[in-house]
Symmetry: C2
Subunit: 351 residues, 2 copies
Amino acid sequence: MDTDKLDSRKMAILNAIIRNYLETGEPVGSRTISKFTDLSLSSATIRNEMADLEELGYLVQPHTSAGRIPSDKGYRLYVDKMMEEKVEEVNNMKEVLDQKADRIENLLKKVAKLLAVNTNYASMITTPKYRSRKLKFIQLTNVDDTHLLAIIFLEGNIPKNKVIDADHRYEESVLLKLNIVLNSLLQDLDLEEINMSIIQKIKEQAGEDSALIGRVLDAIGEAIREEDNIEVYTSGATNILNYPELSSDDGAKRLLYTLEDKQELAELVDDKLTSESGERTGTKGDIQVYIGNETPIDSMKNCSVVTATYEIEEGVYGKVGIIGPKRMDYDKVVGTLKTLMTQLDEIFKKK
Amino acid sequence: MDTDKLDSRKMAILNAIIRNYLETGEPVGSRTISKFTDLSLSSATIRNEMADLEELGYLVQPHTSAGRIPSDKGYRLYVDKMMEEKVEEVNNMKEVLDQKADRIENLLKKVAKLLAVNTNYASMITTPKYRSRKLKFIQLTNVDDTHLLAIIFLEGNIPKNKVIDADHRYEESVLLKLNIVLNSLLQDLDLEEINMSIIQKIKEQAGEDSALIGRVLDAIGEAIREEDNIEVYTSGATNILNYPELSSDDGAKRLLYTLEDKQELAELVDDKLTSESGERTGTKGDIQVYIGNETPIDSMKNCSVVTATYEIEEGVYGKVGIIGPKRMDYDKVVGTLKTLMTQLDEIFKKK
DNA sequence: TGTTAGCACTCAAATCGGTAGAGTGCTAAC
DNA sequence: GTTAGCACTCTACCGATTTGAGTGCTAACA
């Protein structure tokens, strides 16, 4: 595909067409543009240019004798151009987010909701992904006669609780001993590093209480695996019903299903994809824009997805995204995401 | 409204009409019934009876010269009749639920999904509601130089973690002392019972570390309030798009929004409602059925909602519900919910 | 050579009329 | 009390026609 530069007039016309289409959602005709822009060109001239633009692949005609609408390629150009310009307009998201959201989970849900409400599109956000979670420390405590509580503290200051069945009540001194054994041998290890040799060693040192050790290790494994699981939160799914071009046929059904099911959404954050997208989208900064077929998810072929990567600490990142119609207000969405990123950054740093 | 008993023939006809409508979703005419039942009556006779039934309020005609469809009152009669009959057909839900679902949260989500998949309607489930949560014990632990972990154990074996900012590292012996003070004074208290006098006492005993106490108490308050919050999980919301009578107009939009927002759903479990419903729905056992206008939620006026109450332990209960079109398969839904209840019961008992 | 006016042409969407079919209500006969 | 028959009603559907927005092309103009 030829990457020929468009002359500035073509550029202006394309711009005007896209802008207009973003607003109305209707195919836009030559006459509209002739009046809409200050180029003071007649509709006939515009028509010629439009024909050119169509030939170059930036515009599409839904059918003969309808106006033009931007193709994916047209959107792409528009978005790329737009991304180069400064986007700034800090709004007061921070206020909402700042109130102590203790659990990261709640914070993320709040972010998703905020985005959906602000943009009127659907939004999603994933929990941050650690390479592989390590154990920071573990502590066993008596709960009652038949239960112990294992507090499992993972790298990244994540506490996890696991209640463990016990056949009898353990003396405090025994628990103390076990705590010391477990911590001295397991500290800073991840799942791969906890092997049979280490397990054996622990059991030896635990002596008569080695029966318990198995259950404790299970709990640790569970905790780490639980935390490794990337969760996806969505919000504003119903917003997409406001866009007729998405809610026709059963497109809406499939899209809503995807958003509810969430499984497929994980693909959007797949490492492979992220790296690829760097080249493909040619974006600047953290923001990626997938237009139509560029998204890997089938039910979103008629949508655009704008994602951003947030970093919670060195090397630990998650993704947040907005899903809307192709004619979404990219300008606003990108702006919103950018300010969100800086504000999240501040929040995480402060912690 | 006259609660006149219907003679058995009218009853049979009404039954046949409803059954047929449940299947097809189309208004049903006299001719259909004449053949459908084994009453061997001509369509004309049926017509007469239908006219009577309409006059009594059990049937409705969408427009002249269309067949009849059941009114809310008609459904009500049908459902009440049905509930008296035995419903039994245990399927294998238990298998799915039995695998160790450690956190109740996950179990509930799984239940919701299971219901939605099994019935093809939307489902919801709430977290169980405790009267008022009491503190069982609390324990402070060092995390690193600037953070403490408070493990807050609530009545009902619910562990909660709160990370607390600290201005310096506390000696183990200090923490031990604080733990003892906190537990001796706060054990078995709920939020109301923790008053200024007690707080004062704690601070006195804590001496120079009283600055920390405020933050610890905040954490406790948060933990209890968090747990008091009833959460609602939903599943299968998109299923409702399969029923044209619900997805017409913007009814689907509003309904889906309700399901996503969840706030309004809490009304369904409101104490007030639950007690009222006992009389209103006249159901048997644990199952409540709300038909059309009987539901308190506006966006569900065209739906039916079937709810059941599960009990996790003495006095601690939650609600699970199924939302579908009025012409839902009540028989199956009620059956499914009933077996689910018994199976949940077993799971909770075993724990 | 680029721009514009004019005109014929195309196509989706809205409008209108007519028909078919399902179903009812009523009456008269059994 | 039941049934057959018939006139009537109303929706859904089909097809033809119209409307209007928009295009492409050509010819004239600066």
